[in-house]
């Protein structure tokens, strides 16, 4: 039961809202947990046991870390001098590191087993085949949302280890955080303090939250059903039959897929955040007008923000402050100067982040390439930053000039479209084939001569009009106009008018009904 389906929107969500409201305040978290597991079972059946086990394990590791901390404090209290205290701390630190390692390794081990083991075996078999042997593939069922809840669980354990907050004593509360039904499928990846209090508070439903949540949900549906789903018929066809098309169609495929992915992912996140809001739970935002970014680095600060923040908090920063990087920094500064030390440090911290970002999206060389693509671009950006500034000054250009901003935005678009071309290609080889066909076989006229039957003129109209509406709303938001706030604060007839307008636009122009193949959420497969 995906979050965009009528079963979720017309039955599941209303029933959970009613039961939640009717339940006593203290039991409401239980209603949410039961609903979360029910939804999970609808996808992954008995694999809900893995989710439960992960929750219990994460909770146990948290308590273990806390216990070590308490024992350490108790023993330190018995110490008479600082040296003794420091030795005790060292002794217990080892135990804490052990607990952290056990927690992280087990969680990532499960993720590796489910997502990556067969990829590794497949690649090993290429070499083993040459000596006449093969490893058998492992039969694995894919537990929905494992990439999302695993990162949340690892983040929780790391935060408890760093004593950012105490471990949660209540198993149910932690289980609800890891399984909360709107976000289990596609995120956003939250940190424990982001949502835990609101999830457990059991506040009654109120009109303000219902209005905000409802508006967010229908806006998300508009993005997905009117634009993204229609585009998916075109992109599925073009990416699946790339050899039949000229470079102009490949460029179209890359642009169309990027728009499809953005509107689908941000649309489903709107539904997720809207669903959470109905219960008074504010989930973290995942997008902030990513196509207004003026660089690849800025794009990633505006796109899938919760994943970016996770890698920043739990990979990038820890590596940056690790002894290895600190030592490099020190030595390199003396040996090669400040600039190269900065570039080297950035490379050391960015490389694992982008390897992880790439493979987090899936087990495949194309995903690894996707990560490396951004690693190279971002590192290049870091390396060029001082040179760029100097050049601006030399040429007497104002870096904030509008035309320069537009140029930078366009350059970023090219980077994004190219990245998504590889991301959605059938495989890495196909990605390169598509990429090079842009340069060797580009005929703009083939766009109207050989337009595929995958979508009709009507679909194109719906996509264009829908995209323009979404772009206008995004542009207004970027310019500081709070469109959503204005609607929510408007008088009831106007507010309802907007609601009905959006709903009827979805009902009239949405891609749904018999004859339309429902389009699965892309990120739900990660």
């Amino acid at each position: 039961m995906a979050i965009y389906t009528n079963l979720y929107l017309l039955v599941f969500l209303p029933v959970v809202l009613i039961v939640y409201q009717l339940a006593p305040k203290k039991a409401r978290w239980g209603v949410l947990l039961a609903a979360s597991y029910a939804l999970y079972i609808s996808f992954s059946k008995y694999l809900v046991l893995l989710l439960m086990a992960t929750s219990a394990f994460t909770w146990g590791i948290g308590l273990w870390l806390d216990k070590i901390g308490e024992a350490c404090k108790a023993k330190q209290a018995e110490c008479t001098d600082r040296k003794q205290k420091s030795e005790v701390k060292k002794e217990f630190q080892k135990k804490r590191v052990l607990a952290l390692r056990v927690g992280v390794l087990v969680l990532l081990g499960i993720l590796f087993y489910v997502n990556y083991l067969n990829f590794v075996i497949d690649n090993m078999n290429i070499f083993l085949g040459k000596i006449g042997t093969q490893l058998p593939l492992v039969k694995v069922m894919f537990p929905m949302g494992i990439s999302f809840y695993t990162l949340e669980a690892v983040g929780y354990i790391a935060d408890v280890y760093w004593e950012r907050y105490p471990a949660e004593k209540h198993l149910g509360k932690l289980a609800l955080f890891l399984s909360f039904f709107p976000q289990i499928m596609e995120g956003p990846i939250a940190r424990y303090p982001d949502t835990s209090d609101a999830l457990f508070a059991g506040e009654p439903l109120n009109m303000a939250n219902l209005n905000e949540g409802f508006l967010r949900i229908i806006w998300g549906l508009f993005k997905k059903m009117v634009v993204s789903d229609r585009l998916s018929y075109l992109t599925t066809h073009l990416f699946g039959n790339y050899k039949d098309y000229h470079g102009s169609f490949i460029v179209l495929a890359a642009i169309a897929y990027t728009i499809q992915l953005y509107l689908e992912f941000s649309g489903s996140i709107d539904i997720v955040i809207g669903s959470g809001k109905l219960f008074g739970v504010t989930l973290p935002e995942n997008f902030n007008q990513p196509f207004s970014a003026q660089s690849a680095a800025e794009f990633w600060r505006r796109w899938h923000m919760s994943l970016g923040n996770w890698f920043k908090n739990y990979v990038f920063y820890p590596i940056t402050v690790s002894p290895m990087v600190k030592n490099w920094n020190k030595t390199a500064r003396k040996k090669y100067g400040k600039y190269w030390s900065m570039v080297g440090t950035s490379a050391m911290a960015l490389f694992p982040v982008w390897v992880a970002t790439g493979v987090w999206h899936g087990a495949g060389w194309k995903y690894l390439f996707y990560g490396m693509y951004y690693f190279v671009i971002l590192l290049f950006g870091v390396a060029m930053e001082p040179i760029k500034e100097k050049n601006y000054a030399k040429m007497g250009l104002d870096p904030n000039a509008r035309w320069l901003k537009i140029l930078r935005i366009l350059k970023t678009w090219v980077i994004i479209f190219t990245g998504e071309l590889f991301f959605n290609a059938v495989n890495l080889k196909a990605g390169f084939h598509m990429f090079f066909s842009i340069f060797g076989n580009f005929h703009i006229s083939s766009l109207w001569k050989y337009w595929p039957n995958a979508i009709t003129t009507g679909d194109v109209w719906a996509i264009c009009v829908g995209s323009v509406i979404v772009w206008i709303v995004g542009f207004l938001k970027e310019s500081g106009v709070d469109v959503r706030g204005k609607i929510l604060n408007a008088r009831t007839p106007y507010k309802w008018g907007v609601y009905y307008l959006i709903i009827f636009a979805i009902l009239l122009f949405g891609a749904y009904g018999t004859g339309y193949q429902p389009v699965d959420l892309i990120y739900a497969g990660f």
Binding site: M1, T5, N6, L7, L10, V11, N206, M207, L210, T456, T457, G458, D459, W461, T492, W496, Y499, Y500, I503, F504, L507, L508, F509, G510, Y512, G513, T514, G515, P518
Partner: protein, 346 residues
Amino acid sequence: MSNAKNSGIIRLILFGAVFLLLLTAASALSTPVKWFDDNRVQNRNARITEMMKQEPYTVDVLNMGDSLSLSSLTPMELWRQKGYTAFNIGADGIRMPEIYYTVLEAAEDQNVRYLLFETLPLFRYNDKQDMQMIISQPLYHRFTFLKYHSIWKPYIEGRGVKIYHKGYLINREVQEYEGDPDYMSEELGDVRTEIPDFNRTWFRKVKKFCDEKGIKLILYSDASPRNYNWTRVNNIAEFAKEEGVEYIDMNQHTDEIGINWKTDSNDRGDHMNLDGVIKMTTFFGDYFSREGILTDHRGDPDYSSWDEELTAYDKLVDEMEGISFYHVQKRIEKERKEEKEKAKEQ
């Protein structure tokens, strides 16, 4: 209960009521009959829309199922041979909930005597899609606006082309079935051979409706080496027995029907082409004659439109030797495009 709470609930109810009112009004404006003359309805809904446009109480037989059913009976041939009126109301890849509501709509203003039910949809089940249909299909049935929501597309793309003759799409392509003629003993690969409970339940709903309307429900399996074998057929036979429904397996009557697998299939043993469909139609016609329930309407002035349609149908059949309607449709679209370009140049 506090006043704020009361006011909130009243607002929610009022919002829902206004929405239902708007949806009902939009549905009243988008009734298919109103739009069909201009071929504004999309292909999948075109059959049922044309069916609902038939004169009340003139259709004797409804033929339901997925694409196999659509290539099992040509109503114009049945009319020519026996004077019985039939209509194909199925759709490609149709699923059980859609079948139920389509039958409901098709039989509403008719005095249907037979419902022929091709059995392949009984094996089609996907919990993800079918569970959604439990909700969507009754909504589409109640609010036609939802079912015909793509009605705006032809206003941008141009009118559609009339391609159905009482729900039958002419196909005269020939692609020989080269497999074993004794295909019923073959394995079909990774396909479902048991009828899921979900489909049994929905079939019972169809049967109940037929019983109430006095319609004789007949299960039949189209002759199709790609889709049937003994395992499937035996399971249907058992199911039909349990439900007290007559079952005809065409695969066991191919000699009697005269199916020639070299000439009668358009896609290597999956579906029948026109030659095969005519033979199947003759088989059904003879069956109805033996039962003696239906009346021969030929010569009845109330049914003169059927003769007119038969003339148009025959003309098209002659034009389509060796090809399917998709070729004709493409040709028409090309001609239209050329006309448009000419007009632009002028």
